[in-house]
Symmetry: C2
Subunit: 324 residues, 2 copies
């Protein structure tokens, strides 16, 4: 049994707890929280422990799965916990990956642990698909589309506008852009051509809706470069229809071989629950780094470094006989 | 530069030659043929060598790519050549993979070479997608569809019928089956429900077309379990419209997490040229096993054993910065 710890019990941490139930070679040992452990109810009967006491669990956990946010939690937590445990995180601030990698690599090498960062679907599975596409169809171009799904950052930006009570923003890939890519014509697509933004907003009583709508649509970086639609709805409708965490997206590699032969490699995801799917990917990579650590690999890895067989609990013979 | 040899110069061998041109870290050293080398014109200016002299090239080639057929060529050639070279093949007789693996593994281990078998898109990329799907969505089911594309075996079977001059058979996935899978309902699909078979036949003068059509449709294993359509066309139309080697297919994993959340992972390929795409995959894995051999790995591998980063000629830093 692989003994798992969960560090942080938000949506992702809860997803990891659920994912462990679906993997018979895994066992949840403890959930670590910065809240008062007594105040936290979890689904399973694992221990709930204060984050301050994590060091006491050094020898009781094979892999710690970090479920904090990329902005402030993971840059500090992953290097620190890599000194004590094998760790997995879902760090997704693309621009800061090289620095985060170096910090985690140093900590994990010194303590002889194995770490893996930026696991999930993007970064994660989508990264793998970009790599496969680039390596196989070297003369080509890849395209990543996100959605339809909720962007937390964009929803937050709307909620900060004066007069807004609640808001949810969906990123939606444009069908015409997907079709242009699938045509094999290698289009150059602008930001506006690739995605549109659809917002559902609950306004406070007496708020100026026209003003809110204009503020959203003209917001630099977040909305100004996109076709944005704003729907005002009442709170009841909002809670009923917009509380889900569905997401998805597409990675398409379009490339040529020989005398103008076109090829398309398309990977797409349709996810009812973004955190539960991400958690399922984290768990598979937890298994992999546990095995890599036993084999003597130390330091920081990414999905690019992991032999796919290591994600599975089946033997090499079984995999060759049934999945190859 | 990685020095490549091509063993067998049919459609796949020609595809490998074209793929090497698209990879700046590779160089074609020689093409080995069972035909008279003087009779063989190749596209590049590499050497054309009799297959009988392959042993003389032992130290001049980093990876030999075997481009023979799975029925009789590869079971004999891959183990034999793995004694002399690092080798890549596209062995695709699924039922015989375990035996082929053992034969190649023994030869490669004894000679300290690295071999990889069953590379291409199925087996190959599709196998990887089945593995990822199984490892991530453990509570689910995967579905593989092939086509639209030509099945060589089925085309050959039609050509053996009395009165048939030429024939091509397309395997076509049924749209209704794809939609049923994408609905997340985990359907149990029969052979007939998944694919249909569409045949284009040139009959000999005076042949009994009704008899040919009945013979095709009732042929056990090949057609009897499928909805089969037969089109009789003239030779000119046949040569104009049915000489391509396009293919493709789908791997879809449908699975559940938590409280009934559905997730779909879909991978699909649309290929203008089946052999040229397969060749492009072979080349990427040739790069990988060349590196694995330098690092001391020996014996037989499959796509399940190769860290994805090894497929690329970019450094780990570049991959993390640009593709992760």
């Amino acid at each position: 049994m692989i003994k798992i710890g969960i560090y942080g019990y938000g949506n992702l941490g809860k997803g990891v707890e659920l994912a462990i139930e679906k993997n018979e070679d895994m066992q949840l040992q403890a959930v670590f929280t910065r809240r008062d452990p007594k105040s936290l109810k979890i689904k399973s009967d694992a221990a709930v422990v204060s984050a301050d006491e994590v060091e006491n669990w050094k020898d009781k956990i094979d892999v710690m799965i970090l479920c904090g946010g990329s902005a402030t939690d993971l840059p500090e937590q992953t290097p620190r916990l890599a000194k004590l445990f094998n760790v997995v995180d879902s760090f997704d601030t693309h621009a800061n990956i090289p620095k985060h990698f170096d910090d985690v690599d140093k900590a994990a090498k010194e303590s002889k642990h194995t770490a893996i960062i930026s696991v999930g679907w993007d970064p994660g599975m989508f990264s793998l698909m970009r790599l496969f596409g680039n390596a196989i169809l070297t003369d080509g171009k890849d395209y990543t589309f996100w959605g339809k799904g909720v962007s937390q950052g964009h929803s937050d930006a709307i909620r900060r506008i004066d007069g807004v009570k609640n808001a949810k923003q969906y990123t939606v890939p444009k069908e015409a852009a997907l079709e242009a890519v699938r045509s094999g014509k290698l289009p150059e697509l602008t930001t506006r051509e690739k995605h549109e933004r659809v917002c559902y907003v609950v306004a406070k009583d007496g708020a100026d809706k026209a003003k809110i709508e204009a503020e959203i649509k003209n917001m630099p970086n977040y909305f100004a470069d996109y076709d944005t639609t704003v729907h005002f709805i009442d709170e009841e409708t909002f809670n009923r229809e917009h509380s889900g965490l569905a997401h998805g997206g597409f990675v398409i590699r379009s490339g040529k071989t020989g005398e103008n032969h076109n090829h398309l490699i398309e990977f797409n995801l349709k996810l009812d629950s973004n955190p539960e799917f991400t958690a399922s990917v984290l768990i598979a990579y937890a298994r992999a780094i546990c095995r890599m650590n036993k084999e003597g690999a130390t330091g920081c890895k990414t999905v690019f470094d992991v032999p796919p067989a290591y994600l599975s609990n089946k033997s090499a013979e079984e995999l060759r006989a049934h999945l190859l």
